[in-house]
């Protein structure tokens, strides 16, 4: 064999051996991706150094040490996406102080051994004396995140069971800190929370709130106090579950869990944990992976919120058209001062995401009101402003920036000759503008404006950031109840698609009608040729 060939042979064999080694190693350690939301103090959150930390995280890391055959890694996502992620196979485990309920048990595998025990509490304004237990919550307001949490499930069930004493909850994605502020300034009546969470929050943020612990009988109505890890209902999931169960028992026995509890939760909550937990997990077999029928049966329920989407769209579109028109004229006529102001306005509105603008409106207007109240001695309350107004304002102002450019382009594209013809016959500039320039400008601008409208319809899907339930939010809420996220969002997508198809069709008809001059010339072509002959 030639020398070169021999060298290649040697290299090839070494490479083979090495790869053989690494695959062996791979077979030894299984990577476990753990879904967590990083947003629930003190279980899973980011500390000052932007590190993911918390009781749940620490417990999983302790498990990692005890179980060398696994390598645990975290991925942070929305709470509801943890479940979706296990469905899709992305996550092999969920760690977020997850409590057990029937619906979840149907789809997910719960560990036998829970690692946390908690109590439910009601958080209210410190000056209140009228709330002591669940029944006192009738008619009181509280925000609920449709994240598929225990709280949401409890609220919905409670109101079903107590039609005369319903709690006045509303869906919103606002974070707990805002809710605490709302409780302190009276915008909202209460929040149901967990003892551990609220203890941590009170320390961390110096909150001035009243905490009313619930009796055990009421706690177990609100939530299952135990926190579990969840796993997919597969054979790998079963194996991981039993390994983790064993490891948790070890951590309890050797005191590590108590230590972690003291470090992350403030005191030792582990004492309440019973290690004889052998609850039967009702295994209904693999849940359906995808329920096509559900996609369509859900649509009517989501359509109930279509009026909200349409309301926002139509009112915002109308206001933005008028405002955009004013801006376009100012720029077209180059009116001093106002032109520069509007250039700045358009730049900001088009340069920042609408989502950010919604947040600014939602969180900013109450602050603005507080300032006004302070300096003017008024007592305006954000309660009196329906959130849908925030949403409409935000969308109207945003859309106006885009419309103004479309309209301005239309104005500048109008044939100057026609405008001159009008002037030359004695029409005033104003008459020329309204009779000749404006109609033609609008026809020119129509395609671009129609585009903006279609964009606006879909943009309204962000309304929920301001606690307004539109069809997207409705889909999300519905999915958070039955965990059918994929099906729910397909239903929503179909509704949007149908709406845009209808709107586009209407716009096409409008364009055709306005461009009156583009018509068929059938009969008249004949008469024209007849004339020539004569």
């Amino acid at each position: 064999m030639k020398k070169r060939h021999r060298i290649f042979l040697v290299i090839g064999v070494i490479a083979l051996l090495l790869s053989g080694c690494s695959t062996q190693k791979k077979n030894e350690v299984t990577k476990i991706l753990v879904g967590t939301d990083g947003d629930t103090r003190p279980y899973t959150y980011y500390d000052e150094n932007k590190q993911l930390t918390g009781y749940d995280i620490a417990v999983v890391k302790a498990l990692d040490d005890l179980l060398p055959q696994y390598q645990f890694e975290f991925e942070v996502t929305e709470f509801s996406s943890i479940f979706a992620g296990i469905d899709s196979g992305r996550y092999q485990m969920g760690a977020n102080n997850i409590s057990k309920n029937e619906e979840r048990e149907r789809k997910y595998l719960y560990g036998d051994q829970y690692y946390l025990y908690n109590n439910a509490v009601i958080v209210t304004n410190k000056d209140r004396t009228d709330i002591h237990s669940l029944k006192d919550l009738a008619g009181k307001t509280t925000p609920v995140k449709p994240s598929g949490s225990f709280l949401q499930a409890f609220m919905e069930k409670y109101n079903e069971d107590h039609p005369d004493g319903q709690i006045a909850y509303f869906y919103s994605e606002q974070d707990n800190l805002k809710t605490y502020q709302d409780i302190m300034n009276g915008t909202v009546d209460f929040l149901l929370s967990e003892e551990i969470i609220i203890d941590t929050m009170m320390d961390e943020y110096n909150l001035d709130l009243q905490i009313i612990p619930l009796e055990h009988e009421e706690t177990i109505q609100v939530m299952k106090p135990e926190g579990y890890f969840i796993f997919p209902k597969t054979s790998e999931g079963e194996k991981l579950k039993s390994d983790v169960d064993q490891a948790i028992l070890t951590l309890i026995d050797n005191g590590t869990l108590s230590e972690l509890s003291k470090e992350y939760l403030g005191r030792d909550y582990v004492a309440n944990i019973q290690t004889t937990a052998t609850e039967q997990t009702t295994n209904n077999g693999m849940a359906n992976l995808f329920d096509l029928k559900l996609v369509f049966t859900q649509i009517p329920k989501i359509l109930a919120y279509l009026p909200t989407t349409l309301l926002i769209t139509v009112v915002s579109a109308a206001i933005s058209f008028i405002l955009g028109f004013v801006i376009a004229i100012v720029k077209h006529k180059k009116i001093p001062v106002l032109t520069q102001f509007f250039n700045f306005y358009v730049s900001f509105m088009r340069g920042t995401p609408i989502l950010v603008q919604l947040y600014l409106t939602f969180y900013g207007i109450p602050i603005l009101l507080q300032y006004i109240n302070y300096y003017q001695g008024t007592a305006y309350s954000t309660n009196s402003i329906p959130p849908v107004l925030f949403v409409i304002i935000a969308f109207a102002f945003n859309e106006a920036a885009y419309s103004s450019e479309s309209i301005r382009a239309g104005l500048e594209a109008v044939d100057k000759g026609e405008q001159e013809a009008a002037l030359s016959m004695g029409m005033s500039p104003l008459q020329t503008f309204f009779r000749i320039t404006l109609p033609e400008a609008l026809v020119i601008a129509l395609p671009a404006l129609g585009n903006s409208l279609v964009g606006l319809i879909k943009g309204t899907s962000l309304a929920f950031t301001c606690a307004v339930v539109d069809i997207t939010a409705a889909g999300k809420i519905m999915a958070s109840r039955n965990y059918r996220y994929f099906e729910g969002y397909i239903s929503v997508a179909l509704i949007y698609w149908a709406m845009t198809i209808i709107i586009s069709w209407l716009l096409k008809k409008l364009e055709k009608k306005l461009k009156a001059d583009e018509q068929e010339v059938t009969d008249d072509v004949e008469s024209m040729s007849l004339e020539k002959e004569i």
Binding site: G417, A421, S428, Q431, P439
Partner: protein, 250 residues
Amino acid sequence: MLKVCHLKKKYNQTEVLKDIHFEINKGQVIAVIGPSGSGKSTLLRCLNFLETPNDGTLEFMGRKIDVKSAKKEDIAFIRQHSAMVFQQFNLFRYKTVLENVMEGLTVVQKKKKAEAKEIAELYLEKVGMQNKYHFYPRQLSGGQKQRVGIARALALQPEIILLDEPTSALDPEMVGEVLDVIRKARENGYTMIIVSHEMNFVYEIADHVLFLDNGYILEQGTPQDIFLSPKEERTRQFLSRVNIQKEGIE
């Protein structure tokens, strides 16, 4: 009825009209000829303030207007008693032929719709467009569009009609039909200032011809003076390219 004195117009630093001075009487037709860039269209457009002249005076129907201090009412007065026919026709594209002619009558002259319609139909008939009332400009040929443009101007019954190269955008076949219409207008006694390159037509129809060169009226006179015995070298040079058919001249 229109007296133009010392009219000047400057675009940035370029003087386009340097000192224009002429007069037109009722019923007269004045033609403005000359090489490109001599300021012919600008002159016309200054008369109804589509361009704003820099200096000079206009005396229109007895009203004296100093161009530098012209008020909105003065400009409106001129425009309401004059009408323009454009090289590019400039018909209102989303209005029918009939609506185009009615527009000035209803909006500017505040006539009632029924009356405006009658007048519009009358003038459209005069230009031979009576079968096309409900057509849109897009559906017409160039010659037809210009005829509508002329009807639109005539229907206003203006004191003076300004025609800015009315046939320059038409192909040779259609030029004739438009010249016929202008000829008829002249026969009906309309006062007109017409800028044109159609030398034969100018020779036939004009009472007075202005030869514009480089912003000045280099020479003016009757068509016979200008076309048959031009005094200036430049005029001769310009006209040497033109073959006047001298039929029917005294």
